[in-house]
């Protein structure tokens, strides 16, 4: 069954779109991330033009993250005070990132910078998370990573209490961290949830479930901001595609949510580290091994 996408100007198989949505919904429900970084390549793979795929993937995240956040709010898994501080940094960082990416693209080699940044960040986060969870699960040993990072962050001034997260830290810590993460995410063209969550757990010392919920809450606003910008200025959001992706993810999410309840947070972080390392290796593979197709043809938007 084919459906025509009026903005992408292509017809696609409806069951395939629903399946992609369901797969992303499962990942989103299981790990508490938006999943745009996985949706975009899948949509490009089925023939959606890259700029439409990237913009619509973020649009879908508005729907899925709102759905997830409503559940998290009910389960008391969102630190709204922390999320508000993060959001301030996030919006400044992402705006600065958009401008920086324009300057970098004018200077050339933006692809090199994006790919190397991606590999370094994914590699560091994935391997440290993998190492730490292995220590916890198999050796029952708690690492000192949190204490070390907190010591550095404790030195920052303007401390305040975040009762929900049980933290007494400078508001500059989450603000600056989110500013940097969103700056990098904007350059890389992703939402950044999978970078944000490990940072919230390891550098800020937030509990895993609270980090997942708070990150998703914040993602609603950053993805809505990006959607509005992409739809109004670039006309690159395909609403029909976004609607079916959200419907698909609604079908996938309950299974993942049920499944995630069967695992404790150490296992959740362990699986997330495997996912991050998998993406990192896939990226290394695509840029090191000669591609099957050296040329690509694109319509200039």
């Amino acid at each position: 069954m084919e459906i025509y996408l009026p903005i992408a100007e292509i017809s696609v198989s409806l069951p395939v779109i629903l399946l992609i949505g369901a797969a992303i919904g499962m990942i989103s429900g299981f790990f508490g991330i938006g999943g745009a970084f996985l949706t975009t390549p899948l949509l490009i793979f089925i023939g959606i033009p890259p700029y439409i795929a990237a913009a619509t993937a973020v649009t879908q995240v508005v729907g899925t993250s709102l759905s997830g956040t409503l559940a998290n709010l009910k389960n008391d898994n969102v630190d709204i005070k922390m999320a508000s501080v993060m959001l301030c940094g996030g919006l400044i960082g992402s705006t600065a990132g958009v401008f920086a990416s324009k300057i970098l693209s004018l200077l050339g080699y933006i692809d090199v910078i994006i790919s190397i940044l991606y590999i370094i960040i994914l590699g560091i986060i994935g391997s440290s998370m993998f190492y730490e969870t292995i220590q916890l699960i198999y050796l029952k040993k708690n690492t000192t990573a949190i204490k070390k990072s907190n010591r550095f962050l404790l030195a920052l001034p303007f401390k305040m209490i975040f009762p929900k997260s049980k933290l007494y830290i400078s508001f500059l810590a989450p603000l600056l961290l989110m500013l940097i993460i969103n700056f990098i995410a904007a350059i890389m063209g992703i939402g950044g949830g999978f970078i944000m969550i490990p940072v919230m757990i390891y550098l800020l010392g937030m509990p895993t479930q609270l980090a997942l919920g708070t990150s998703l809450f914040q993602v609603i606003f950053t993805s809505a901001n990006t959607t509005f910008f992409q739809a109004s200025l670039n006309q690159s959001v395909d609403i029909i595609l976004a609607i079916f992706l959200v419907l698909g993810s609604t079908l996938g999410m309950p299974f993942a949510t049920k499944l995630s309840r069967k695992f404790n947070s150490d296992y959740l972080r362990f699986f997330l580290s495997l996912l991050i390392l998998g993406i990192c290796f896939q990226l290394i593979y695509t840029i090191i091994f000669p591609p099957q197709e050296i040329f690509t043809l694109e319509k200039i938007h």
Binding site: Y4, E9, I10, T59, V237, T250, I287, T296, K299
Partner: protein, 236 residues
């Protein structure tokens, strides 16, 4: 179209408008007509012009494969298909094929004149890759599609336009060829247009983009809420 034996050359389409509805998956148009004996027909279908770019991956520091060269191909026909009663080379000499721009090779190559520092080999390579990728999308024909002829006087062929064909005005030029010369030509228009929901969404996005952006967000918020209700119901 009414056929008349006094007219030696007539051509038309069975439909001049292809409507893009929500289940559009490409369109077929029948080109048919009448010609004199011992003549050939060439039909050229050109879609609305669009700007394209060809991106080439190269190695960086001999390690990384990254997008590097961006070759601009401005104002290229989005669709370029050639149909003929016999292979083109048997109907017309090469000079005339080039003169009338009946070959996709010529169409792309023409846009590479801005890259005057390139060697002929480099130009040839880029040209070949651009055409191959257009053919892969079924926007350019890979060979000269055959127009079938009955009793050497009536001809017909089905023109296929893929789902990715952009909306706009298409021009179909039909040439009558005799003894290696084009003796007559006729132009027939074809329009591809979005209708119903596709048209409404497309126009809203292009002409009222802020309204479209707000509408998109409202829909996403509603779906997010609905999704949460569904999941809650499913889990409980």
């Amino acid at each position: 179209m009414a056929f008349s034996m006094e007219n030696d050359f007539l051509a038309d389409l069975d439909n001049h408008v292809i409507k893009i509805t929500s289940n559009f998956s490409g369109g077929n148009i029948l080109l048919f007509g009448q010609k004199n004996k011992d003549t050939d027909i060439i039909a050229v279908i050109k879609g609305p012009e669009q700007n394209f770019q060809l991106i080439e991956k190269t190695t960086f520091l001999n390690i990384f494969w990254l997008n590097n060269n961006i070759i601009k191909l401005p104002a290229l026909p989005s669709v370029f298909k050639v149909y003929a009663t016999r292979p083109l080379e048997q109907i017309l000499p090469t000079e005339l094929i080039d003169l009338y721009k009946l070959n996709s090779n010529f169409i792309v190559n023409e846009k590479l004149i801005y890259y005057d520092q390139w060697s002929p080999e480099q130009r040839k390579k880029v040209n070949a890759h651009a055409i191959r990728l257009f053919q892969k999308k079924n926007h350019y024909t890979s060979d000269n599609r055959i127009i079938s002829s009955m009793k050497d006087q009536l001809f017909r062929t089905t023109i296929h336009l893929p789902d990715t064909s952009p909306q706009g005005s298409y021009i179909i030029t039909i040439y009558l060829v005799k003894n290696n010369h084009i003796i007559k030509a006729q132009i027939t228009p074809l329009t591809i247009q979005k209708v119903e929901l596709s048209e409404y969404i497309f126009n809203l996005s292009k002409n009222f983009s802020y309204l479209y952006a707000s509408f998109t967000l409202i829909i996403m918020i509603f779906l997010g809420w609905l999704s949460n209700k569904f999941i809650k119901h499913f889990i409980s």
